[in-house]
């Protein structure tokens, strides 16, 4: 892991590479362009990266492999001996899995659409206008991000119970909004900060009101930022465990995070079903991730550096 420091060392003492000096002809092998590595450093770099990549990839890969094994052999160390789709068949047809998937999609979809919209308007207002209450609002957004589940969960449980929203997707959507929106609003603010104010001004001059400017000029420009925000909301809802476990009861009401827990607990350990359903859950998330990850870098750092 220390290779980072020595990867460049071979090139640094090579004074010949500075253009001011003409390289002495006696040592031609020393001329190495700036930023180039010696072969040894290259090998070390690739070795370190390979080890790190393998560590990152192997657990999900093993999950995939296990899901194609018969349940009785879930723990065999062989690669697949009897390739089977039985686990998938069982999960889809004999369990409540599709129900959970539907619940999750509904909850997460609503969270994403609403979350993106309201965090975008908030981010825009905070980025462009100075208005009374702006600083308290920014603090509020920062502080809500660190609210522990523990302080809110019981009162929230009671609140949802009294509104009749326990076991209802709407209850979870509203809850997830409070987790996703504060961070998303910060991220959107960072993104809007990178869009020149002149565009807004041009819009105003052409007679658009602030909402028109936002909707017709800024939103189209901010699509990468919106993608990141949407993705973040999606992931937040898709992977949330605490609220989902507490607020949703009854097998048909569970979301995926809650439902998967029923496969492996102190009473049963149906690793075949667990792995198969985990793969079904992970693949769409990973695919969406693949689409937005390019924007993720710019969006995150815009949010982070400008905060």
């Amino acid at each position: 892991m220390t290779t980072m420091t020595d990867t460049n060392t071979p090139s640094t003492p090579s004074t010949p590479s500075t253009p001011a000096k003409t390289p002495p002809p006696s040592r031609p092998r020393k001329t190495r362009a700036r930023g180039e590595r010696g072969p040894l450093a290259s090998v070390a770099l690739h070795a370190a990266l390979l080890i790190a990549s393998a560590t990152a990839v192997l657990p999900p890969l093993w999950l995939l492999v296990t899901s194609f094994k018969p349940t009785s052999e879930a723990f065999s160390t062989d690669l697949v001996k009897d390739f089977t789709f039985r686990n998938y068949d069982h999960v889809v047809n004999d369990t409540e899995f599709l129900n959970w998937l539907g619940n999750s999609l509904l909850v997460v979809g609503l969270t994403t659409v609403i979350g993106v919209f309201i965090s975008a308007t908030t981010g825009y207002a905070v980025s462009r206008f100075k208005f009374p209450g702006m600083r308290p609002l920014m603090w509020l957004l920062l502080i809500t991000q660190m609210f522990p589940v523990a302080v809110l969960i019981v009162p929230l449980y009671n609140l949802l119970a009294s509104l009749g929203l326990l076991n209802q997707p709407v209850g979870l959507v509203v809850t997830y909004l409070t987790i996703a929106v504060p961070f998303c609003a910060w991220m959107m603010k960072g993104y809007f900060d990178t869009i020149p104010v002149e565009i807004d001004e041009a819009g105003r001059v052409d007679g658009l009101n602030p909402f028109g400017t936002f909707w017709r000029l800024i939103v189209p420009l901010a699509k990468p930022g919106l993608a990141v925000t949407g993705f973040y909301s999606f992931i937040t809802g898709w992977a949330e465990v605490a609220y989902a476990s507490a607020f949703m009861t009854g097998e048909e009401n569970l979301t995926l995070a809650g439902g998967l827990q029923t496969f492996v607990n102190q009473y049963t350990s149906d690793w075949g079903s667990l792995t198969a359903s985990a793969v079904i859950v992970a693949v769409p998330a990973a695919v969406i991730f693949g689409f937005v990850q390019r924007h993720l870098v710019s969006g995150l750092t815009a949010g982070a550096t400008k905060s």
Binding site: N8, F75, M146, R204, A246, G290
Partner: protein, 339 residues
């Protein structure tokens, strides 16, 4: 960045703005005029933030106040308002002042959990930040297969966290898990990954670092790319070696990104519920129970559910986090950060 909304509005000679200005000149009573003016110049900014404020107010504000209140009572499952069948039973819990807090703070369990939570947070953030920084530096150069490496390294982030946690439980399985089988192949005895207090702690940290590195990596890569290359060229001209360039250009250049990232991930890790809840359920015993999962256990797992105690824990956790954020922000400001 932020344009004063009243000024930009006046510049555009927008109708409500013009009206607002007109009114102000006509008004002699100062306060109502100013209020109306700020309403007419800022109404769209307020309209834009209104949904967020409403959601936060209802779903966080109300429960927070309610939680604060509950923490000063002796509410539990047996005495809160509830409906059993046809019978509606009113709440019978009563105020006990600050007894819950003194009970929690004088209890050894709290300090044990707090110590472990701090160890957990610091080691998770430090290790994943270190690894993220190293890997980002490795990737931020000309390299064969660079995008392939990047995809592989980001994968743990792409898989939903609870799925990964289940995967790790599969790997950690004491009797049959692949990790122990590999060790057995090397003649090493099976390690009780999740069943021995010390190993369980190491295991949960490992899993959380595994989950956390991609976020650090992506943030650091973005930060590295925003450092102008000319700085490195200049330093190299002046004869700085690789370590010096890293120490005096890369690290200062990453300071803004890293401070934000450390703050955010510190708070996330402190509150990290799913990893511990799904991996060990806080066990064995309560060895891996952090403050958040312990408070959850009080209100949803133990019987009778101790709502008041849980709320008190929650308030204390919140106080600790606010303290952390304030101290951290102050430290940054001292270093010249403007925020």
């Amino acid at each position: 960045m932020a344009v004063d909304s009243s000024r930009s509005l006046a510049k555009a000679a927008d109708a409500p703005g013009a009206r607002g200005r007109g009114r102000r000149t006509g008004d002699t009573g100062k306060t109502p005029g100013r209020l109306r003016r700020s309403l007419s110049t800022h109404w769209y900014a307020w309209a834009m933030v209104a949904p967020v404020v409403a959601v936060i107010g209802v779903i966080i504000g109300y429960p927070l106040v309610r939680g604060l209140y509950l923490s000063t009572t002796d509410a539990n499952e047996a005495n809160v308002e509830r409906t059993i069948g046809m019978n509606h039973i009113p709440a019978t819990y009563k105020s006990v002042g600050l007894d819950n807090y003194t009970a929690v703070l004088s209890d050894g369990i709290f300090w044990d959990r707090l110590t472990w939570t701090i160890v957990w947070t610091v080691s998770c953030v430090a290790i994943s930040f270190g690894l993220g920084l190293v890997l980002a530096n490795m990737l931020n150069r000309k390299l064969a297969g660079r995008s392939l490496y990047r995809m592989a390294l980001i994968l743990p982030w792409a898989v939903p966290a609870f799925v990964s946690v289940f995967t790790w439980r599969l790997l950690f399985n004491e009797k049959n898990g692949i990790l122990n089988k590999i060790l057995a192949g090397g003649g090493i005895d099976a390690i009780p990954w999740l069943n021995d207090p010390t190993w369980a702690k190491l295991s949960v940290i490992t899993v959380n670092v595994w989950l956390g590195v991609p976020f650090m990596l992506v943030a650091m890569l973005g930060g590295l790319q925003s450092i102008p290359g000319e700085l490195y060229e200049a330093a190299e001209m002046d004869g700085a070696n690789a370590w010096q360039r890293f120490r005096h250009i890369t690290l200062p250049g990453l300071r803004t990104v890293s401070s934000t990232v450390i703050l955010i991930s510190g708070i996330w890790t402190f509150n990290m519920f799913p990893v511990i809840f799904l991996l060990t359920r806080g066990g064995p015993g309560d060895a891996t129970e952090i403050l958040v999962t312990y408070a959850y256990r009080l209100s949803f797992v133990v019987s009778p559910r101790d709502f008041a105690g849980s709320a008190a824990w929650g308030v204390i956790i919140l106080a600790l986090l606010s303290l952390f954020a304030v101290v951290y922000r102050r430290a940054l400001r001292k270093q010249g950060e403007v925020w």
